[in-house]
Symmetry: C2
Subunit: 456 residues, 2 copies
């Protein structure tokens, strides 16, 4: 229970931007993927770094946990208020503060979403590439070290954040780096915050790298008799060093889901969605090269999405694969999990996972950012049925163990949150103690997002 | 003075691989750039992670500082034994442990040098791109977050390290990540170690990303009437998104130095050295595009280095610019400094720096990895003349202040070491306290490389 003194102060300070309403709190206590609802006791919408400082100091005074909330698209329970306390909703910090065209970077508040940012960049000739599918907030994407469809070409958030401004547990504000493209000045606090899942401080500003919109973009899809053959083609494409912009795998079930949801008539076979960026000449050359590798691996002809609208359609369909899959089983919830392995192990990892899934009673489509060795399984569950939850846990655990055994990681891009906590030590051993000691050095009272990422 | 008990134990354990000889110690107490000699009290050559653990535990027991030493090419005094103690020479840990061709990565010991690694990779079709000029050790390059001529295309060490194995101050061994290309599993300890300059642990193994050798490589040089025009051309090339492999600036004085040292007859004008990587077609296309931008900015025609030998010659000359410049003034020492700014500020930063240098009695050529906004000044000093050292300090300080004012960093790639310590707080404010608290959490007794990076 929050102290009445704190509630009064929050009410006085934030007025309308403060709520203890049940539905508001519940809305902030879960993410997009199924996780148990753990509602905060109050929600505060802040609008500036100064307000963040005030709020953090208040919460520190009352020793109340702070859980940040961006667009609510988290997949591993990052926004669950495990120990109650205050949810800080950052959606009103949605200003693009500066676009530095010449330097190809921009400064944004954390509540800006990736689509909003790219709309804002319209006509600058630049874009922000990191694309996790959902229209996530930049703050959330920093916090989970997000990546997505074109990380294979443009990198993940790790590679595209120049600095963050963060409010620490004692109310100090730090800016982790200048705007230079590279620096060897001290420890890399920027990268420490990228992926720290709200456990080290409240991010209130982010400087991002931008990229020139390529002269030419072309997209295509092609079918394969089996997922295995599709993955083999991808491995060869990557090993040839072809600079793919996107190379995405969708299994048969995902294609079926997309056909239903996006009113498409794609052949219901394992499919690669591909995108090429570069000069007109380079794009043509890349596409010819990839087409030959696809054909050598049993893949069908490229079906091109030539017009911008066609390209948009194909990628919207891909991005809606989550919703499309959930629609396969009316009333179900989606539980999305991901692993990432060295690419030489990808075919084995996906094959064994498919075998595992085919022996289960749960429906679970597979999609993957396969160019990075990263793929997702989406369990379609009825959370009221404990046997379904147990089965998803079992399959998830086996998938993680498989990935670890193959030299991979328990999460390529969704983050640890709550859902992957039990696997972190298995993956990284004593590193977890090091992470915990860093956490304690910065947030000794564990106010920021307790129970996540590095210990439960 | 080292405790006799410790000396005896080191002697017994490491035998020939232990020395307290004056010349050996002195040889380990300075880097390639001029810094005051601060010799360690003893040097130990270790050969394995297990030996590193033993040594760290011994040093912890006796509370003796440990300074790691790789190839000795550091430029900011990283290897000075400021508080005496033991220098750990890692040059005998020079094994390439594994090359995973399919995954395009490799596992190496820290004493492997970058040239050695690339020789080892011969005939794999892969290469390791990070190239700071000197034949530095991989461990040293990790520790300083090194970059160099082709960081503009392939990134810095930050971008090319998949994980490190490190021995912590209490003797625990951690491996910071698996081999997957990306991960969202916990704090990014890999990036925390990259750039930590030996202050957080002893790095004993590194997994590196490798890259496919491009189908075609071509190199060229072209002259400009002024440094300013050369820099303007570079800015336009970068802003067009042309994927340069290398784009290096050398001022008139550097070219003069190279002509003398490498027996070349380059026109003594500001010059860009360029390299293009890609398919044959892509390389041709890129080169044509760059040539037109060069010409629009007053640059001369491209002089191509077509044969491999010609390319090697041009880049060897560039890499030897340090030694060539030192040879401009017989008997002098080189003091190399670097800053990095947002590229929009690069022309101003270099122009003002040139003006500053032209008003000084010191000779100081400029070279730069200008595609990243990064450049170097090399002060040619007689360290016995205090007025020369003072003048270099003065010019260095003004250059750093200028870079910071323009949104840049006090070091783009050399690191903080000792030489840039006084500027770190000016650049990053309270971030320095955060770095210090992380340091204390991991190395409470400050055994690892004391007096560097985050506090003096």
């Amino acid at each position: 229970m929050l102290d009445q003194g704190l509630l009064n102060q929050l009410q006085n300070r934030f007025g309308d931007r403060f709520s203890t309403g049940k539905s508001v709190c519940e809305q902030h206590g879960t993410g997009e993927s199924w996780v148990e609802l753990k509602a905060p006791e109050a929600v505060v919408w802040i609008q500036s770094t100064e307000e963040a400082v005030e709020l953090v100091k208040l919460c520190a005074e009352y020793q109340v946990p702070i859980t940040p909330y961006g667009a609510g698209t988290s997949l591993e329970g990052h926004v669950q208020a495990l120990k109650g306390g205050i949810c800080v909703d950052l959606s009103q910090m949605d200003q693009v503060i500066a676009v530095n065209n010449q330097d190809m970077d921009c400064v944004v508040q954390p509540g800006v979403t990736r689509k909003q940012l790219n709309q804002h960049l319209n006509e600058t000739g630049l874009f922000f590439p990191v694309d996790p599918g959902a229209d996530a907030s930049i703050g959330g994407m920093v916090s989970t070290r997000a990546s997505g469809t074109n990380a294979v070409r443009y990198g993940t958030m790790k590679d595209n954040v120049l600095n963050v401004t963060a409010v620490l547990a004692d109310g100090r504000v730090i800016k982790t780096a200048q705007r230079a493209r590279k620096s060897s000045a001290g420890y890399d606090l920027t990268r420490l915050f990228v992926g720290s899942e709200g456990t080290l401080g409240l991010i209130t500003e982010v400087t991002l790298k931008l990229h020139p919109i390529p002269e030419a973009t072309s997209a295509a899809r092609c079918n394969f008799p089996s997922v295995d053959e599709a993955v083999q083609a991808v491995i060869q494409v990557i090993q040839c060093g072809i600079p793919m912009a996107r190379i995405e795998l969708l299994d048969e079930l995902s294609i079926k889901a997309i056909n239903g949801y996006s009113k498409m008539t794609l052949p219901e076979q394992p499919t690669l969605f591909l995108e090429f960026h570069g000069s007109q000449q380079a794009v043509t050359e890349q596409a010819e090269w990839v087409a030959s590798l696809v054909s050598e691996n049993g893949g069908g002809d490229f079906v091109w999405a030539v017009q911008t609208e066609d390209r948009t359609r194909i990628w919207e369909a891909r991005h809606n694969a989550y919703y499309a899959s959930v629609a396969l089983r009316p009333g179900c919830k989606g539980w999305s999990t991901d692993v990432c392995v060295p690419i030489s192990a990808l075919a084995d990892c996906i094959r064994e996972t498919q075998q595992d899934l085919s022996g289960s009673f749960l429906m679970a489509p597979i999609v993957g950012h396969v160019g990075d060795g990263n793929f997702h399984v989406l369990f379609l569950i009825d959370p009221d049925k404990s046997e379904e939850i147990e089965e998803a846990y079992r399959l998830n655990g086996r998938m993680v163990e498989r990935a670890l055994k193959l030299g991979g990681t328990c999460t390529g891009e969704h983050g640890i949150g709550v859902g992957k906590l039990k696997y972190l030590r298995q993956e990284l051993g004593d590193c977890v103690d090091v992470m915990q000691s860093i956490k304690l050095a910065l947030d000794p009272n564990q106010l920021f997002n307790p129970g996540k990422t590095i210990w439960g």
